[in-house]
């Protein structure tokens, strides 16, 4: 039995007919073709599938879309605005913070939520915020560098 879900994703209203037990991760990838959101464990342990719901990081493998109706869902596809990359995306590309790139969408969104709340985080605050996102390629250093660079640029653009 399928249910009609009224979702708001990346600023667009998307109606989708899906089984009510499907996770947000599955609906995003399989029903809405938003494959930028990845899966690493589907158990809530690796952070790969992170999306933002009302600005907060949520593990889409543990969230039900039915609970996300009427809320603002943001995936990696929604980060760039009008062809302009988000400063985090720019910094991740420039500094080699995306190697295989598989954990990258989840980390970008988690970092975006952090910078919204704490515009100039310390290194420890960045580490704390990203503690739930696993990366196997980079050793994290470049990821932390990239978040710092993006924070500086956002701050520079604001002042």
């Amino acid at each position: 039995m399928k249910t009609l879900l009224a979702l708001r994703i990346n600023g667009e209203d998307r109606d989708v007919l899906a089984a009510p037990h499907k996770t947000l991760l599955e609906v995003l990838r399989e029903d809405l073709n938003l494959t930028g959101t990845k899966h690493g464990c589907e158990l809530g342990e690796c952070g790969t599938c992170t999306v933002l719901v009302d600005g907060l990081p949520v593990l889409s493998c543990l969230a039900l879309p039915i609970e996300c109706q009427g809320r603002e869902i943001r995936t990696v596809e929604g980060m760039a605005q009008g062809g302009e990359l988000h400063p985090l995306q720019q910094a991740f590309a420039e500094l080699g913070a995306a190697q295989c790139g598989y954990c990258t969408p989840g980390i970008l969104l988690t970092a975006e939520a952090l910078l919204e709340e704490v515009p100039t985080p310390t290194r420890d605050e960045i580490k704390q915020a990203l503690a739930g996102n696993l990366c196997r390629c980079t050793g994290y250093t470049k990821i932390l560098d990239a978040v710092e660079l993006a924070a500086l640029r956002i701050k520079g653009a604001r002042t």
């Binding site: 494959t35 596809e77 980060m79 990359l85 720019q90 590309a93 995306a98 190697q99 790139g101 598989y102």
Partner: protein
């Protein structure tokens, strides 16, 4: 490249695929969606060791939404394995399972949920056998055999190599140490679970998209496994979301997807769950090690005798190579004039181990570096100085016939000692704190292919046309290490253009020349040299054509800043795109190959193919805890 200065190489540049990765555009294998695509699931054994008495798929076939159900009986009855010497795997086990997670049947259905439900309707009757779960267990019970082949019951491979008289070497030593170490195994844990999409076309030709580090080896083996001519199979490696050696074998899900596609007439995707990735494994072997080494007072090594026992798990995989690797690279860091090695890989009823990062060399390195520290302490030597004094020599063959070319280990040691404050801190830290050093070395590409042959290890085609486009075609697979970018950088450097001007088309067995795969740190050196050769051939033709136009000689031309011009006279030249037009007008289609094969340095002994490399990389590390 005969250049004094590089314009691309040496720069810190974004990877060419970074932009797609940060916006979510990159299509990993599980991101591929096709019309009419079915989803597949494997049914896996819950027993570590059991005979299969009966499989009944009737109820699964009857489930609405199921397109096809297969068991091992539906596949050609051939065993396979990545190494020619260990053909011991089946995609779907027919008579016996050897580990929890061995696949016994597969289903394709309208969606993943239906496929999974169908697998639960398959009835399998097992007769459990005694499971052997450790090296000791397997050796103690030769009457319980996991495989019918091997050097002894439950011993997959036993090897013994001797280079010189170790007993005499120990007799001449001031200190002889015997130590035992055990390295617990581990797994790769790439963030991307393995995934494959197969499409068996109506024309009888098969295409497989897969998250694999070795499309060429998968291509080769699929032909054997499916009994289809290799020329009718196309394997495309999707961008790989982390490999680390865990995506180097042909796997059950790839093979099952192909067969299910043939039977259902639909593309079939199988994506593994995280749990299944642990069953697929091919991780770093647990290794039990015994080392006996003779040292002189000054720390010089007189000789070493090394024994290793590898817990191989249920199948061969790369295990014969792994076994030799546990004894191969001891000799390339420090001088070991006399060396003896004995190794044995033991089958157990656990997921098979394989070629995880460093492929059998990190375990002995751990043991050896620990023992050197113990010896240094006993001899009253500084562990860093002791290592520094006894470095392997450049351009000299080691005891086990490996050719060390250049060696940067001394500089590595100097740098970490300096940067860490080793001299001040060693012995001066408070109780509970300590500082230690270790060194290591690894290949820059294996000197031999998985199957011995005289063909190139890497091939590249560089193509240019009147649009100014340069396309680079290479079988190498980008697993996050940046191989696509390296190819673009090198070709851009040779042609005097920007990496952005180049499109790299990787890892498609229909379109790209063979590259053996992304393993053993080989791609930059091997595919890189092939790319340089191809680009230089293209540049040669471009220079010939431009020289005629400018009424000069090719040797006076340079390619730089997206132009081809007379050296020292930049105004006398043409834009790169115009240069290509001139060359295409003179020579026709511009497509040039490059190949690379490493120097043949395999030692003339059994196992001599494991360890040789065009050159070795070195590392040193100081850690304070």
């Amino acid at each position: 490249m005969k250049k004094d200065r590089f314009s691309v190489i040496g720069q810190s540049l974004p990877k060419i695929d970074a932009w797609a990765k940060v916006v979510g555009e990159t299509k990993f294998a599980d991101d591929l969606l096709m019309s009419r695509m079915a989803h597949g699931k494997l049914l896996r054994s819950p027993h570590p060791h059991a005979l299969i008495k009966r499989i009944d798929t009737t109820r699964a076939r009857a489930l609405p939404g199921v397109y096809a159900v297969i068991t091992g009986q539906d596949l050609p009855r051939v065993k396979f394995g990545i190494l020619p010497v260990s053909q011991d795997e089946e995609a779907l086990c027919v008579e016996k399972v050897r580990m929890v997670g061995d696949a016994v049947a597969a289903v394709a259905a309208v969606d993943e949920e239906t496929a999974e439900r169908a697998t639960l309707l398959i009835e399998v009757e097992y007769e459990p056998l005694r499971p052997l779960m450790s090296i000791e267990d397997s050796l103690a019970h030769p009457e319980v055999r996991i495989h019918e082949y091997g050097d002894r019951p439950n011993v997959h491979k036993a090897v013994a190599l001797q280079f010189g008289d170790v007993e005499a070497a120990f007799a001449s030593a001031d200190l002889v140490r015997e130590d035992v170490f055990f390295f617990e195994g581990n797994t790769h844990l790439p963030m991307e679970q393995h995934s494959a999409v197969a499409q068996w076309g109506a024309d009888g030709k098969l295409t497989l998209w897969s998250s694999t580090q070795t499309p060429h080896y998968v291509h080769r083996l699929l032909a054997k496994i499916l009994d289809v001519p290799q020329a009718h199979i196309r394997v495309v490696a999707a961008p790989v979301g982390g490999g680390f050696g865990g995506k180097l074998d042909p796997f059950a899900h790839e093979i099952a997807a192909c067969k299910l596609s043939q039977l259902s007439g639909r593309p079939v995707k199988i994506t593994l769950t995280r749990e299944e990735v642990f069953y697929v494994h091919r991780g770093r072997h647990p290794v039990l090690m015994w080392i006996k080494t003779g040292f002189r007072k000054d720390g010089a090594i007189t000789g070493m005798h090394f024994r290793s026992w590898l817990d191989g798990g249920a199948y061969g995989s790369y295990g014969v190579a792994s076994t030799f690797y546990t004894g191969a690279l001891q000799t390339v860091t420090y001088q070991i004039p006399v060396y003896k090695f004995e190794g044995a890989r033991v089958f157990t009823n656990k997921p098979p181990c394989g070629p995880k990062r460093g492929h059998g060399t990190p375990q002995p390195r751990f043991a050896m570096e620990c023992q050197i520290d113990k010896a240094a302490e006993q001899l009253g030597l500084d562990p860093a100085d002791m290592r520094r004094r006894n470095l392997a020599e450049p351009f000299v063959k080691t005891a086990n016939h490996l050719t060390v070319t250049t060696i940067g280990l001394g500089e590595c040691i100097d740098r970490v000692v300096e940067a860490s404050g080793w001299r001040q801190k060693r012995g001066a830290l408070p109780p509970g704190k300590g500082i230690g050093i270790a060194c290591s070395s690894y290949l820059t590409g294996a000197g031999t292919a998985i199957y011995w042959n005289d063909m190139p290890h890497s091939g590249v085609v560089v193509r240019a046309d009147r649009s100014g486009l340069v396309a680079v075609l290479c079988g190498a697979t980008d697993i996050g290490q940046g191989s696509d970018s390296i190819l673009a950088y090198l070709v851009a450097e040779v042609l005097g253009i920007e990496p952005k001007d180049i499109r790299v088309h990787p890892a498609d067995t229909d379109l790209t020349p063979v590259d053996l795969g992304s393993y053993s740190s080989r791609v930059t050196l091997m595919a890189g040299n092939a790319a340089i050769q191809a680009a230089e051939r293209l540049r040669g033709k471009i220079f010939d054509a431009v020289a005629r136009k400018l009424e000069t000689t090719p040797d006076r031309l340079v390619a730089s800043d997206r132009r081809v011009f007379v050296d020292g006279d930049p105004d006398r030249g043409v834009d790169f795109a115009q240069a290509v037009v001139l060359a295409e007008s003179m020579f026709g289609v511009l497509a040039f190959p490059g190949s690379y094969a490493p120097p043949k340095r395999a030692g003339k002994y059994k196992g001599g193919g494991v360890g040789p490399s065009p050159c070795y990389s070195y590392s040193a590390c100081v850690v304070e805890v």
